[in-house]
Every structure is written in C-alpha cells, then in structure tokens.
C-alpha cells in the first residue's frame, strides 16, 4: 500500500495534526512501509469470525447514578492553558 502526499495531508487533517512539508514526505515513506507489513492480514481467512474488541468477556457494566464528591472547579481548571471564571477559555469557534 503506497500512500500519496495528498492522502498523508488528508489523514493529518482528520487527526487535526499540523504537518510540515518535510513530515509529509517522511510519513509517506514510513507509513507506506508499515502498511506493507500489514498486508499479511489480508491473507487470513476470517469468514464467519466475530471481531474481538476486548479480551475479557464482561457485559455492559452499570452502576446507580448517585451523587458523590468530585474535584472542585479550581482543581479541574488548575492545568487549563487559559481560564475565564469557571470555564476553559478558547479562541472564537465561529469566525
């Protein structure tokens, strides 16, 4: 599987990952080489097999919806890059 520059830029956009021109070339080479190693999976016959999403077969886990102590707003916001009152401050979403 050979990836193109355009595909690399598209994947980076989907991942919201800024990417330099030099990285486009590097990732194109490296990801293509990694994906070549993944082609082996296409040889496996998986007809009729169910996918395994995790290895210990627990069913959905429910718990009562009860009030319990949680972190304070100050604790939650202590690591915020920018804060305004009790909120995270972000750039304008609508330009």
């Amino acid at each position: 599987m050979k990836l193109t520059d355009e595909e690399i830029r598209h994947i980076a956009l989907l991942a919201r990952l800024g990417i330099s021109d030099a990285d486009v070339e590097k990732f194109r080479e490296q990801l293509s080489s990694i994906l070549e190693n993944m082609d082996i999976l296409q040889q496996v016959d998986t007809t009729g097999l169910a996918p395994t999403s995790q290895s210990v077969a627990l069913e959905n886990i429910y718990r009562p919806d009860e009030m319990a102590p949680s972190l304070t707003a100050d604790e939650v916001l202590a690591n915020a890059p920018a804060r305004e009152d009790n909120s995270f401050r972000v750039n304008a979403v609508l330009e």
């Binding site: 994947i11 990694i34 999976l41 996918p51 690591n79």
Partner: protein, 487 residues
C-alpha cells in the same frame, strides 16, 4: 548496615518489622544510591526526595503502631504515566511536561494506603509508545548492564531503576510488552497481569483494550507481594473483573511436579539471536528437571499475524485516546493564533513527538472511511483467531514458555530510525496483550554480559500458576542474584 538499596521488598519488610531498620534510614540509603548512579543510567524523570522522606517518617509511625504491611515504608519508583496527585506526570511527552494531576491513580491510592514510599517518577517512551525509551521527549535511559545499550521500553526507566538498585521495586505499564521487554533487557522480574486484574484509573490511556499495569521487581516473591496490593476490582475502571484477589505469595512453591509446559514453536522466530535461543532451551531443560512435563512442539499458528494486528489495533485506539490533547483543558497549548483549528493543529504538531504522530496517523488511517473494514475490523477478527490459539493451547498446557524478546538489549541509536525493526523487539510479547492473558518475564541468563528474559504465559487469571513456575525456576538458578557493576 551497608548496601540497603540492594534489599528486596521481603528482606526490607523483615528488617522494618523487626525494628532493625527504619523506613527513613532505608529511604535515605536508596536516595543516596539513586543520586550516585542516575547520572549514568538516567532512569528517573523526577526524584521527589523530600516527599519520600516525609512518607518514610509516616511509615515509621505506622510500623511503631504495629501496622506494618509488606509494602509499608518500602521505596518504589512509578512510571511517569500514572497520575500522582500534586506531582508532575509527563508521560514522557512535551504535551504533558507541566501537567500536575489533581488526583492519584487507583494503584497509587493503594500504595499510599499501604504507606509505601514513592521516591521518583520513571522515564518512558512518549505515551508508552516505544521499545527503548529513545522516544522519551526528554532523554534516553541507559541499560545498567551496558550503558551503551537501551534498557528496553516503554517502561525502560522503571526496569533500569530496579536493575541499578536505585529503588526496591517499580510499577510499569504494558500494552504490547512494555513491562516484560524492558524487564527482560534489564535482568529483572516484570509481570503483565491479566487484562482486567488491575485498575487503570489514572493511567494515561494508550490502547484501552490492551493496557495493563504491573510490578517490576528484583525477584518473584516481590512480584507476588506487589500484585497482592494493586490487583482487584475498581468501579472507576469498568474493565476490572470482580474476582477475589488471592494471596499470591501462597502460590510460591519450589515444586512444579506435573506442571504441563508447552513451547510454542512460532516464538522461536526467524532472526532470533542464537545465544538467546540456547539460553531459553537451557531454561526449558531446567523446568523439566524441576518436574514439569514439556512439550516442545506446540503450535499457535496465528502468531505470525500478531505484529500486524497489534500495529492496527493499538494505533487505532491511540488515535482515539489521544484526541483529547487539544490544548484546551490541560497540557501544552499553542497560543500564537486566533484560529481555533490552527491552535489545535499546532498544539498537536509541536506537543507530540515523531513516534506518537506516526501512530496517530496510522490509527486514523485504519479507522477512516473506506479502510475501516480492511484494517481495523480485519485486525479485530484476527484477534479472535489469536485468542482462540491460546484457548486451545491452555486446554492442554498450564504454562507456555517463550523468549521475552528475540535478542538481548540493542545499542542506543541502532533502531531509532527504523520503526519496523523497533516493533520486532516486541514480537514475542504483544500476542499476549492481544489475547489478554497474563505474562511474566524472569531472568534466564546472559549473552555478552546482557540479560536474557524468559517469558511465561498463563491462561486468564492464572497469575498464581505463573508465579509458582517463575519462583521454582528462580530458586533453582542464580540469575536473579547477579547485579550490574554500578548497582
């Protein structure tokens, strides 16, 4: 008393309980040795000596009050991807360079409740993605047995600190081998418990269907002691299983008569170092001598697809888990723009290192429209096959034996620019995460002065069988008593 830093947990506990040693005295000795060696090994991201001595003083009070449990007052190192309240937790990344968690991880709570003494946070590959610690955003850890070599990864700091006696024990995390491979490279004991045995609450998420926390220790007895404390159900991690936690130390008997051991031939892989193979074969003979019946021709036919399946599944889950690093809530944030999207993209461009970006890209691709069925869904179906291989094998065998890694520790820099070569060092460990079964690496000899790791694999929640086998082998061999020159 000299060489206090060399003690195991059980040795230190006996002295503490008998009041022949105080925790403050032990912690001082450990910190002193750490300071004298870590300039060379560079295992520790952050040493918290003052806090450690305060914890040690509290532990001494608990001991005086008759409340000495096996971890009370004993120093440890914690991998820097487990949240420690008020102590910076970087995860080896610029993204979290200044992140101070407002809460403790579940395992840290358990250790603190036992009056354990945390002396340092350990270096690691960024976001636990790597096999050498060379992906740490800050520095590379060196193997205490040969400073030119890697300690393995991603829990390389944890394993190197134990091997260099800079701590009595450590915690690591393991998504594809990140406890066992560095334990093997550094000649110490490392256990990845069954998926669901230990809570990951407060562990920085990498691949949620594979991640597990476990002990890295100087011997098997210590491994059982630590597992006793960290294992168990936690309602904050819904994948933990509500099974009773046995006293794992009771499983340690040097008799393994009648134990059924299988050697899966696919793990004696092509490209394996011949001397590693010899060491593993000698270890298998030793198990036989101890009374196990060994079948050397077991087949897990889907092993060859393990690496490919893993490098679809783990990056896919990582790409979703790491979407949270957006520069808004915590962590590094690019501020030099008024555009929301540009801020997010640059935050992730400058905050993440090369391997993390590579895996986010790979995972995003495998999950994207048009490729999901061919990659992610296919890998999940192959995962079913790999799991079935183990289920079938464990119908006939109690323990499977393999090398932990195909080679001993490699040179720093040797594989840094070749992701595929780097991934191969986990080829023997990652199928175990895919199947969710427990695996332990124990010291099994040396090649050119570097340790060889023997991996034992058991069925789901059969940690007792693994520990008993590991203990019997350890007691019959000298490897765990050998120390690198700088320890």
């Amino acid at each position: 008393m000299n060489d206090l830093h060399r003690l195991t947990i059980h040795e230190a506990h006996a002295l503490l309980k008998a009041k022949k040693l105080s925790s403050v005295e032990l912690t001082r000795a450990v910190l002193k040795h750490l300071e004298s060696t870590d300039g060379k090994v560079r295992a520790c991201m952050r040493v918290i000596g003052q806090q450690a001595l305060e914890c040690a003083a509290a532990a001494d009070k608990a001991i005086a009050a008759g409340k000495a449990n096996p971890l009370t007052g004993v120093p440890l190192v914690i991998k820097d991807n487990m949240c420690t309240k008020g102590v910076t937790t970087t995860c080896g990344s610029r993204m979290l360079e200044h992140f101070v968690p407002p809460y403790d991880a579940h395992v840290v709570e358990k250790l603190k409740a036992a009056n354990a003494v945390i002396v340092a946070k350990a270096n690691m590959d960024e976001f636990a993605m790597g096999s050498s610690t060379e992906n740490s955003a800050f520095f590379t850890t060196h193997n205490p047995w040969n400073l030119d070599c890697v300690p393995g990864g991603s829990s390389g700091g944890s394993a190197a600190s134990v091997a260099a006696d800079e701590t009595i024990y450590a915690l690591g995390s393991d998504t594809g081998g990140s406890i066992r491979q560095p334990a093997g490279f550094c000649g110490v004991v490392g256990l990845k418990p069954t998926y669901g045995r230990v809570s990951r609450f407060g562990l920085v998420a990498f691949a949620s269907s594979l991640d597990q926390i476990g002990p890295i220790t100087k011997d098997v007895m210590d491994c059982a002691i630590v597992l006793n404390v960290i294992a168990g159900h936690d309602k904050r991690d819904s994948t933990t299983v509500p099974l009773n936690v046995p006293d794992y130390t009771k499983a340690l008997k040097s008799d393994i008569k009648g134990l059924r051991v299988g050697v899966p031939r696919e793990y004696l892989v092509e490209g394996m170092q011949p001397e590693v193979r010899q060491a593993i074969e000698a270890a298998i003979k030793e198990l036989e001598k101890l009374g196990a019946t060994v079948d050397r021709d077991v087949s897990l036919p889907n092993t060859r697809y393990g690496l490919a399946a893993y490098y679809i599944l783990a990056p896919s889950e990582a790409s979703a888990n790491l979407a949270r690093y957006d520069g808004v809530k915590y962590g590094y944030s690019y501020r030099d723009t008024t555009s929301m999207w540009e801020a997010m993209e640059k935050t992730r461009q400058f905050g993440f290192g090369a391997e993390v970006k590579r895996r986010i890209m790979l995972g995003t691709y495998a999950l994207s429209a048009g490729y999901y069925d061919a990659y992610y869904l296919k890998a999940q179906k192959v995962r079913t096959l790999i799991r079935q291989d183990f289920d079938k094998a464990f119908a006939s065998y109690d323990v499977l034996v393999t090398p932990t890694s195909p080679t001993v520790a490699f040179k720093i820099g040797e594989r840094a620019d070749d992701p595929v070569q780097m991934y191969l060092s986990d080829v023997c460990t990652l199928p175990i995460n895919i199947a969710g079964v427990p695996g332990i690496s124990i010291p099994a000899g040396f090649v050119n002065g570097l340790p060889v790791g023997l991996q034992l694999i058991g069925k789901h929640f059969a940690e007792e069988t693994l520990l008993r086998t590991a203990y019997a082998y350890e007691q019959a061999t000298p490897w765990h008593t050998m120390k690198p020159a700088l320890a």
